[in-house]
Amino acid sequence: MPTEGVKQKTSYTQFLLPAAIGLALIYFVVLAKAAIFPFILSAALAYILNPLIRYFEVRGIKRSYAVAGLYIGAGVLVFIVVYLLFHFLSFELESLQQSWPEYAGRLQQFMLNLNAKLVKNYPFLASLRLEQKLDHFLEVAPQFILELLPALTLLFVVPFITFFMLIGGSGIIDYLLSHLPSKHAEIILHITSRIDASLGNYLRGILTEACIIFLISFTGLLAMNLNYAAFIAILIGISSIVPYLGAIVGAVTSSIVAYLQFGTLVPIVRILAFFTGIRFFDDWFLQPYIMKKAVKLNPAIILLALMAGWELGGIWGVIFSIPVTCIIKEIVQIAVELQETEFHWKPKPEPTRISIPYT
């Protein structure tokens, strides 16, 4: 007979040790926040890459060889892409730094003229002091872009830690799962597999989508002979994580650059048509195909999550806001379902009954 079948008196002392370990862990994370951070990023990357390793693993290839193969393959690919990108980017950033004063002057002149016209027609706009705000923005903008570059060091640290996490596999998770109370293992595994399915699909989907949009934008902008195509395409790729934002950012940035570069309206119209095309392509082809199995998040919820993420943890809060929102949404859904089934909020579903006997 099952040993757990015998009803035992609940002793709360059994929760003391896990609670103490949990509290100590939280305290450690709070104290060593900066050191922990690359590990959290690495865990997230390992989670995203794991299905790829699992793909080879279930085909009989040892995990260590699969990870090594992936790193060698990805290393070669990343080297080529990064080399090409840096070649474009460093040149573009350099030329942007050189030509920024000229562009800033033209933009300032354009805004001054516009502001003068607006203030002439609508005097109350003078109180907004748009000129000063623009001056300040034009001063800090290039500096801000260059300040982002040191964050690139994480690009070397994170894959290094991820490598060891991938080699280790799901060892810690398996250990925890195998030490769950056996009676609750089924429900806990059901919850984790549901979260894993929707979160994994969402993250992999959104990253694939961002990569595809980056490639299309880069190719399109390059074909239109627009300056800073690589830089703008990276900006579009990153901002496309927020639905609709990628196309808007792309259209606005490219239009400004096109205006400064060509000084006529025709290239701007072409660019706007191009980004409208990308938007429709994303809506009609990419999203239905890539995101069909992922958790559905309303764009308003995504914006709220991003803003809350910024409030709580700055840029890193923004990065983790969407995965955390996915987890919260799935947990809320599962909690409601469990309330209905386990705590009988809803009447028990009737089993399917058929009057005709088995023949």
């Binding site: 079948g5 040892k62 056996s182 089924e186 597999s193």
Partner: protein, 164 residues
């Protein structure tokens, strides 16, 4: 010889052993070896120690269990005597709890490990993913499941007749 040694080191014997095991499960009959890879990806593994309960009668079922090694007992509470009776033992290669794949209804028996037992779990959500993402595999499993359910139903109907 060196090349052979290299390939033998490259391959994980444990995974190959699991694949061979799945090939002989009646639920996956008609599924090709290349397709079984996707089945293996969908399975969750867990070891239950001797005496541990896997699920209790009345719990909502969410997964099917395939016994890889060890032994599981299925017992049911007799309402009249209020005693638990063992109704079946499940051995390696056999499975139980398939009702959970069809509808999330309360379990009709309690399952516990008679010895240290390793099981593969197939959750309803994973089967649904297989059905949509890889219909060929999903349909093969669904058809096998229907055959097994039919056989079990027939066994229940034929049992009283045999006793007569």
């Amino acid at each position: 010889m060196r090349i052979l040694n290299f390939f033998s080191r490259l391959y994980d014997e444990e995974i190959l052993c699991k694949m061979d095991f799945l090939k002989n499960i009646s639920l996956f009959k008609g599924t090709r070896r290349s397709q079984l890879i996707h089945v293996l990806e969908s399975l969750q593994e867990r070891t239950y120690l001797k005496g541990e309960t896997i699920f209790t009668e009345g719990d909502i079922g969410r997964a099917l269990f395939i016994v890889f090694s060890g032994k599981i007992a299925l017992s049911r509470l007799d309402r009249s005597t209020q005693k638990s009776e063992t109704i079946a033992e499940v051995h390696p290669g056999e499975f139980f709890g398939e009702m959970a794949l069809l509808e999330e209804m309360p379990r009709t028996a309690t399952a516990y490990a008679l010895e240290d037992t390793k099981v593969f779990m197939l959750f309803k959500i994973k089967l649904e993913s297989l059905l949509f993402a890889r219909p060929v595999i999903g349909v093969t499993i669904a058809a096998a499941l229907a055959k097994i359910m039919s056989a079990r139903l027939r066994a229940i109907i034929e049992k009283p007749q045999q006793q007569e």
